[in-house]
Each structure stands twice: as C-alpha cells, then as structure tokens.
Subunit: 318 residues, 2 copies
C-alpha cells in the first residue's frame, strides 16, 4: 500500500486540506469554510470533518494514511499541539489541544503554527528544496516568519520564534497594530504599501493610481509598477528598501542559505523580488550575502497544508 | 590520568590561554601579547608558543590534554578552522588555517569565531548554564552576538551568523562604521553612549560629567548613573531603551530561553541590567517574554578562552 500524508491549514476563512505522497506529489485537495463566526465548537467540528474526509479519501484510494498534520494560527506547543497564545484570526483559540483530535480521528495528529508549516512546505517541496537553512517570510496584511536550520524548524524556547513582523525597523517610529512602535510590519506589510502609494499618487498628477484611490489593492500597485507608473514605483521601491534592510538585518543575524518570500508581495513578480534582492544584499554582510539565495515562494496558498502534512514525515524532516 | 581541555582566545592585544577540567574548573591561565604590529607570522608563532606552553603545563600536571580550542576574530569555517573573513582586530588574517597548527602541535586543534566561543563559554560554565537556547551579546567598542539552540551554536550557512551589531535599529538612520545606516552598534555601543552622555552633560549644568568630558569613559558614566547624575541617567536610559528594542526584536524572532549580556555594558551592574530588562520585556511578545531570563555574563574576559576549550568537548556540547 502506498503511503500518504494529510495536511490541514486552518485559516481564519477556510480550512484547506489535502494528501501528499512522501515525495510531495499532491494526491487530493479540498477546502471548506472555517466558520469562525459560528464559534469555536463549530471550528473544531469542521476540523474533524476535514480530517474524516481525508481519512476516507485515502481509504478509497487504498493508500496508507501516515498521520494528519495541522497548521494553526497562534503559538502552538510542539509536538503536544496545544495553542498557548491566540491569533486575531481565531479569537479564543488559546488552550485548544489538537492532541484530542488524535483520539477522535483514531490517527496520529500533529499541529504546529501556520507560519512554521508554510516554511516547512516550502523547504521540503518548494523554493527551499535542497537547502539546509532558510528564513521564510510571508508578507500580506500581516507579516509572518520562520527559520529552518540544519533541516529543522527553529521553534524557540516557548514555540514563539519567527515574529519577524514585530522586530524594530525604526526605533520609536510609527505605531504598529501590536501596540509597539517602529515594527517591520507597520512599514512594510500590504496596508503600509497601499497607504504610501495613496500618498504618492496625490503627489504625482499623471499617476494611473489616482483614479483608483478608494479601492486600491497591492495588485493594482504592482500592475502600475510594472508599467512604470511613478507613484507606484516610488511606493514599491520604498517598500523594497525598508523590507530589504529588515531582511538584510536578519541575514546578518542568522546567516541563512536562502530567504524565501511568500504572501501577497511574492506575487508581485520578478521585478519586485529583484528590487528586494538588491536591498537585502546592500544591507547584508559580505560572507552572509555572497552565498545567499533569495527566491519567491513556490507553493502559494498550498504551502500551509503541504507543510502541515510534512509534520508526520520522518523525525529528521521536522 | 585526569582530562583537561585547553582554550586560547586570540585578541587584538593579548592571547589569553588556559586549561579547564571537563567540569569547567580553571586549572591554569596565562596571557601573552599578540603582537599584531609585528606581522601575521609573529601572531602565528605566538599562537604556537601559547599552544606549546599549554601542552607543557598539562604534561607537568600529569593531565591528559584532550585538544586545543582557539577563538579567533573574523569569520571562521567550522570545524575546518579556516578564516574566511577578516576582522579589523587582525587585518589580513583571512585565509589563515588553524588546521595547520594541529600538525605543528601534534594535537587536535579546533577554531571558531571569538564571539561564538564567548557564548559557548557562558553557556557551558557561566550565565547560561542549565539553559538550552540563548542569545549572547557583548557590548563594548563594537557589538558581537551569538546564538545557542538546543545546546549547540547556530553558526549560519557560511559561519557568519550573529552580527547583531549590524542589524537595523533605525532605518536610514545614523551612519555606522561598517558603512550601513542605522545599525544597532551605531546607537548602542560604548562610543555612542559616551557621545550621548557628552551631549547631555552640556545640557545639564549640575552634571558631574561636565568636568570629565575629555576623557569620558563608560565606567565614569555608569558611576555617575548609580549616583543619580541626570545627564548620565538620561544617557544610560536612552541606551537601555534602544538596546532593549533591538534585543526585544531578536527575542521576537528567535524566542531564546535566556539573553546574556557581556562586555563593557555588562559591568555596569544590576541597575543597568534592570533598566535593560524592562525595555526588552516591553518590546518582546507575551509568550517569548514571559519565560525569558536576562542575565549579565559571568565569566568576564575569560569567556573566550573557556568557550574555546569547550570546542573539544563531546560533539553534543558544541
């Protein structure tokens, strides 16, 4: 019987789930609503529903299911699978024990933080394949980060490592949603990019963004950037300069083999990544910069559930 | 025959060397001048001289010498012991291979970066004893850093990890000696503290520092701080606030069990460490901050050679 591994990405809106082979081939995929608004019991029921469906799919395919992995928002104690700190995506989720699902589903269940799972997915079967150490970031409404070193996640002493979005980029600077000042997220996440593009569009009378100020999205900004729009280009360059300093700082600290950029900004394309690379390299030290690879994430929205599935791979792959 | 381990700390001014027992007891210690000004061959000869003396001391004491460890400035490829990037302390040191000393001395020689050795020393027998993961910093004229995770040094993909001094604390800020802008070192190392104390002393007519502006040292500033001098207190508090943000950022990224502060600032005493702790905790996230220990280094100037000696301990201790 062929082995398969199941992964579940528990998001604020959807539960994404699927099966992969030990080599990373995608064998099945589906998504169902998380229904956070219906309460935590519903979320838990939906997780069990997804788990049962994964078990039944692998049964129908006559494959041996080797465990279910779950990527969850918040801080997750590993390998016990207990949520020790909530995330705004699923309020009140703290205290959840994924271990209980193991009994409900009669199969090994492992859970980890969602950013860790995304990093693990990219490391195993995406942009980080073949490397040994990497810094994985996701830039969207918020900013997530995770480290892989010698092929394993660095989870931290209390499983809270990777909060790249809340490192200081500008001491005593702009107020961040988290309450601190000057965080990387306050300056470089998508809302900051949109805000700065709006401001710049008002300065540049010929900017194509001026007509779209109300519903401005990062997609529109990157489209305009590719076409050479001045306001968009300035906003994107400032973003790449600031994010580049921040990532370059982490490169100086941690000296990874690769930096993998995922989330909304990664979809901005090669021109943005080139701009970002230039700024990372400018801030990174010689010996850390020389050998550094900088790549866009490859698995897109699937990185989370694929990485979660990898939690049940052999010990050395975790 | 009792086992001993030898360690050498190769500094810009002195070569410090000694022997420790497997339990960390100091069995012997001496220092000789490095003589950088006489050229690299002299430095190498002095290293061999120190090595031979360590061998002869252990012989006289009828102890079994289990290897010599060397902490060197610059980036050192480990375990091969090749300097891949120089430091200003010993210019031209790049390319040095410590492996050659093994043949000269007829004993196992391992070399690593000096900041890594200091961290290893503090982890094994100093402030970090009993912990599993830590962030070790030294604040003096420059700033060094190193990480221990699961009991082992995180050296980085090209052995260049730990450059905490050159992470951005103020995007596009003050120019740093390294050529970048806004580095932690430019704002929080001893020269920045002295500069800011001088500036503040000019503002505070009753500051005791006003009489000492020419030869002002960090010791004088901390003495005045302990006595409640206003200029000194403001300078120290600003230093602790900025360094606290920077260290808090690393805590959010890496979630260590302990932060160990060494170098000149560590000698400032409890009042300074308390001030620093307050600022680190204010910037660190709940789950990473709650369990965090913050301590002064304990081994002082001996951390380097003691840590270097630990390089030849059992694999798991490296």
């Amino acid at each position: 019987m062929k082995k398969v591994y199941a992964g579940i990405d528990l998001g604020g809106t959807f539960i994404k789930a699927g099966l992969i082979s030990p080599g990373g081939a995608r064998i099945s995929y589906f998504k169902i609503p998380t229904e956070v608004e219906s309460g935590l019991n519903t979320v838990r029921d939906n997780l069990i529903k997804a788990g049962k469906r994964l078990i039944s799919i692998s049964g129908r395919k006559r494959m041996k299911l080797c465990g279910i992995g779950i990527g969850s928002p918040g801080t997750v104690r590993y390998p016990e699978g207990i949520v020790t700190d909530s995330s705004p995506n699923i309020p009140g989720w703290v205290g959840t024990s994924f271990g209980g699902l193991s009994a409900d589903l009669k199969i090994e269940v492992r859970a980890d933080n969602d950013a860790n799972c995304m990093a693990l997915g990219e490391y195993m079967f995406g942009a980080g394949r073949g490397t040994r150490s990497g810094f994985y970031i996701t830039i969207g409404t918020g900013i997530g980060g995770a480290f892989i070193y010698n092929g394993r996640l660095i989870r931290g002493a209390s499983y809270a490592a990777g909060e790249f979005g809340h490192t200081a980029l500008k001491y005593n600077g702009k107020k961040c949603k988290c309450g601190r000042r000057g965080c990387v997220e306050a300056y470089t996440a998508v809302p900051a990019l949109i805000q700065s593009a709006k401001k710049l569009a008002k300065k540049h009378p010929y900017s194509s963004l001026r007509k779209k100020l109300d519903g401005l999205t990062s997609h529109m900004i990157f489209d305009a950037f590719k076409k050479g729009d001045r306001a968009a280009s300035e906003a994107v360059r400032l973003n790449a300069a600031m994010l580049g300093s921040a990532v370059g700082s982490v490169v100086n600290l941690f000296n990874p083999e690769i930096v993998v950029v995922g989330g909304g900004l990664a979809e901005a394309g090669k021109k943005y990544i080139d701009e970002l690379r230039k700024n990372i390299i400018a801030f990174a030290f010689g010996s850390a910069a020389n050998s550094l690879k900088i790549r866009s994430a490859r698995l897109g929205n699937s990185a989370g559930w694929i990485g979660a599935a990898c939690l049940n791979f052999d010990k050395n792959n975790r």
